[in-house]
């Protein structure tokens, strides 16, 4: 048998950067990409978007929310109990122990707890060691020290330390994408006990959304992106409309078109590619910012994996009233709004002329087929990730999981952990459970996770998988974005 010949969605060159999800995430950042782009084209330009002074920080009035003291003790205690029993807590604090973010509850009231966390971390550090995790009473306490911040996850869920680390990493990147890491570091160099919440007002909302989003979307678990199903000719029409409309504009680094958390196309500067986790942050931003739908925006966005030291400027706008796809044109020029606005109008005109808007709408309106519809009666759901392109495909969710999404997420987490546990990574995983049989397979080219009916015959599994791979292979042009359009 030669399953390995069938590798749907594989391509020699990839649209996205393809690092392993669990590869070390520390300092794997491409730095100085921004400088390179700027210098290449305009060597004289020395303006740095980040050197705004933060000297006025000290003079700023302290207006941190005052503690409310009128709550009765009793109510407080009930609140505390509920609070303590939450599934997953996330905390962010500075190295000095100043509260920055708590998923639930008011950080100021939890100051004592942040103090405990800081003490634990610094106590271990004083022995030249790093605190990674504590397990107690079925709860995982996971610490991530990313100077100048400490991030802590406290989870009662069945999640591995690695998966929690990965989530903390996303939160750190979310904060960095709003401020840039160089600014973060600079702030704390100047004032160790700075209250970062002042600079992060409004970002809590993005972090909250990111946590829920990461829970529900397999994209985060897999470190991959799902594409909107489109015929390859339409997709390349769309890409070329973007390329030709932007051809005379300097310094556009990425053009991204997305809809409904799926990628339609991505056009990039030749030398630079985008990491899926940066793209996830963009998805998160677009999804949690309603106002993009109605007005055009000009937003500074730092993509930490691309260059954590500076901002790209993003022209963000939905294509039109009758097509809910969101276009982002990211550039290094801070004054390019009007140029890009005009480019967007040209793009929309071209897409309209080529019937691409219709094609996008059609695909958005029509849900993906579920497993039964595509002839796989024994399969309830599956995830397929093509490693070489960092893209994944999933069919639409069918009963029983449409009502119990959490069950599905937990199953995939379990499977994923099986393949990626650093102590003993498995290549193949099959488990028959009371309610379903679950399967995972890690090959050189892809990862495949399948939820079967509980009574599927083990002997049939191999045949079904082969059929499934062939089914995807036949449709790979639609399901995956296999070209690599560049400016």
């Amino acid at each position: 048998m030669s399953y390995l010949d069938v590798e749907p969605g594989a391509a020699g060159e990839s649209l996205l950067l393809t690092t392993d999800t669990n590869a070390t995430f520390d300092n794997q950042y491409m730095s100085s990409s921004l400088e390179e782009i700027k210098n290449e084209i305009e060597p004289s330009e020395t303006e740095d978007s980040n050197n705004e002074s933060i000297s006025n920080v000290t003079t700023y009035e302290e207006n941190s929310s005052p503690m409310s003291v009128d709550n009765e003790d009793h109510e407080d205690r009930i609140q505390d109990k509920k609070w303590a029993l939450m599934d997953k807590h996330i905390f962010v604090l500075s190295l000095a122990g100043k509260p920055i973010y708590s998923r639930y509850g008011n950080e100021d009231k939890l100051a004592w707890l942040f103090g405990v966390m800081q003490t634990l971390v610094s106590f271990i550090q004083s022995n030249d060691d790093n605190l990674i995790s504590i397990s107690a009473g079925g709860i995982n306490f996971v610490f991530s020290i990313k100077k100048p911040l400490i991030l802590v996850a406290v989870s009662r869920k069945q999640e591995s330390v690695q998966q929690l680390q990965n989530q903390l990493n996303y939160i750190y990147n979310q904060i960095a994408s709003m401020l840039t890491t160089s600014k973060l570091i600079k702030i704390y160099e100047q004032r160790q006990n700075y209250d970062l919440r002042r600079l992060l007002t409004g970002v809590e909302r993005l972090i909250n959304h990111l946590l829920d989003f990461a829970e529900a979307e397999p994209a985060f678990l897999l470190g991959a992106v799902q594409c909107l199903s489109l015929s390859s000719s339409k997709r390349s029409n769309i890409s070329s409309a973007i390329i030709s409309s932007c051809s005379k504009i300097k310094n556009i680094v990425f053009a991204i078109l997305l809809a409904n958390n799926k990628l339609i196309t991505l056009v990039r500067m030749k030398k630079y590619s985008l990491h899926p986790s940066d793209l996830h942050l963009i998805f998160n931003l677009v999804q949690s910012t309603e106002s993009f739908k109605t007005v055009e925006s000009w937003a500074p966005i730092c993509l930490p994996r691309f260059d954590s030291s500076g901002f790209l400027y993003g022209y963000v706008s939905y294509l039109s009233e009758d097509c809910q796809a969101c276009l982002l044109l990211l550039t290094v020029e801070r004054d390019a709004f009007h140029t890009l606005k005009e480019a967007k109008q040209r793009i929309v005109e071209k897409l309209r002329r080529n019937n691409c808007l219709e094609a996008i709408n059609e695909s958005l309106a029509k849900p993906d087929v579920n497993c039964a519809e595509s002839g796989f009666l024994e399969v309830r759901h599956y995830l397929y990730k093509s490693k070489s392109t960092a893209q994944f495909y999933q069919p639409s969710v069918s009963p029983p999981y449409n009502k119990y999404g959490q069950v599905l997420t937990d199953l995939y987490k379990r499977l994923h952990q099986g393949l990626h546990c650093s102590a003993r990574p498995l290549k193949l995983f099959f488990e028959r459970r009371a309610n379903e049989a679950i399967f995972a397979w890690d090959t050189v080219g892809f990862e495949l996770y399948i939820i079967f009916e509980p009574l599927v015959e083990t002997g049939n599994v191999v045949a079904i998988i082969t059929r499934l791979l062939n089914w995807m292979k036949e449709r790979e042009d639609n399901l995956f974005h296999l070209q690599v359009p560049t400016f």
């Binding site: 705004e52 007002t201 309603e290 106002s291 000009w298 500074p300």
Partner: protein, 249 residues
């Protein structure tokens, strides 16, 4: 003497004037909205443009841009409006929005002293960095929360006077006074441009006229426009500490 310098300044205004086929004038002017986070900048814009109000609007990221075309008598004024983010972390970006702006809305929340003080800082920043004359409007938002008011009308009015701005009180939630504010800016921009283009039409729009148009608006009752305002179009005069009644020009 003073009048002369005023007129000189005004004649330098780079307002773009386009003539269309029917010889109708369209004036294009950039307008920036500044203010502390949460004072209601975006709400005011969406109220004006979309006629809607959303209590749970998400904070603006960077800035939003929209265009409003307003007919003033026989002419069109096209406002290119930048609704900026109030959060401190976006502060570094703001100069690119107020650069070359013809008008600025300085907004505060009448229930927040901090937002009023923060607005004063924006005025200082404009004064330091903006050379061209600018129509300034101070907007006190959230008058629907009158019972929680901490910035009195007199205080805001007096402050507006010192910077040569016009003061309006509005409510984005109840849609009070917003139309008038935008109309006012459109008319002021038109006035600036007419002064710029031809000397004969200099007196077409004097203050009485402006007020006359406003008085005819059905929304006058809903707004609280102070009656002592002095319209002043030059930000330069702030630096010199003069307030110049627009009537003089």
């Amino acid at each position: 003497m003073l009048q002369l310098t005023q007129c000189e300044v005004i004649s330098n205004i780079p307002v773009r004037v386009n003539y269309d086929l029917e010889n109708m004038k369209t004036i294009i002017g950039k307008v920036v909205i500044l203010g502390h986070q949460g004072v209601g900048k975006t709400s005011t814009c969406t109220r004006y443009v979309e006629k809607t109000f959303n209590r749970h609007i998400s904070p603006t990221i960077g800035a939003s841009f929209f265009i409003s075309r307003i007919k003033v008598l026989d002419d069109y004024v096209k406002l290119q409006i930048w609704d900026t983010a109030g959060q401190e972390r976006f502060k570094a970006m703001t100069p690119m929005f107020y650069r070359n702006a013809k008008a600025a809305f300085l907004m505060f929340d009448i229930t927040s002293e901090a937002s009023f003080n923060s607005m004063k800082n924006w005025v200082l920043e404009l004064r330091r960095n903006v050379e061209q004359p600018m129509v300034l409007c101070v907007l006190g938002n959230k008058i629907d929360l009158a019972e929680r008011r901490v910035v009195s009308r007199d205080e805001a009015l007096a402050y507006s006077k010192t910077i040569g701005a016009r003061y309006f009180e509005i409510s984005a939630m109840r849609d009070q006074g917003i139309e008038i504010v935008f109309k006012f800016v459109a008319m002021e921009l038109l006035r600036m441009s007419t002064k710029n283009s031809s000397a004969t039409s200099l007196k077409v729009y004097n203050t009485e006229n402006v007020n006359g148009v406003m008085a005819s608006s059905s929304e006058l009752e809903a707004t609280d426009i102070g009656n002592e305002e002095i319209v002043n179009m030059s930000i330069n005069s702030i630096a010199h500490g003069h307030t110049v009644p627009s009537r003089c020009c």
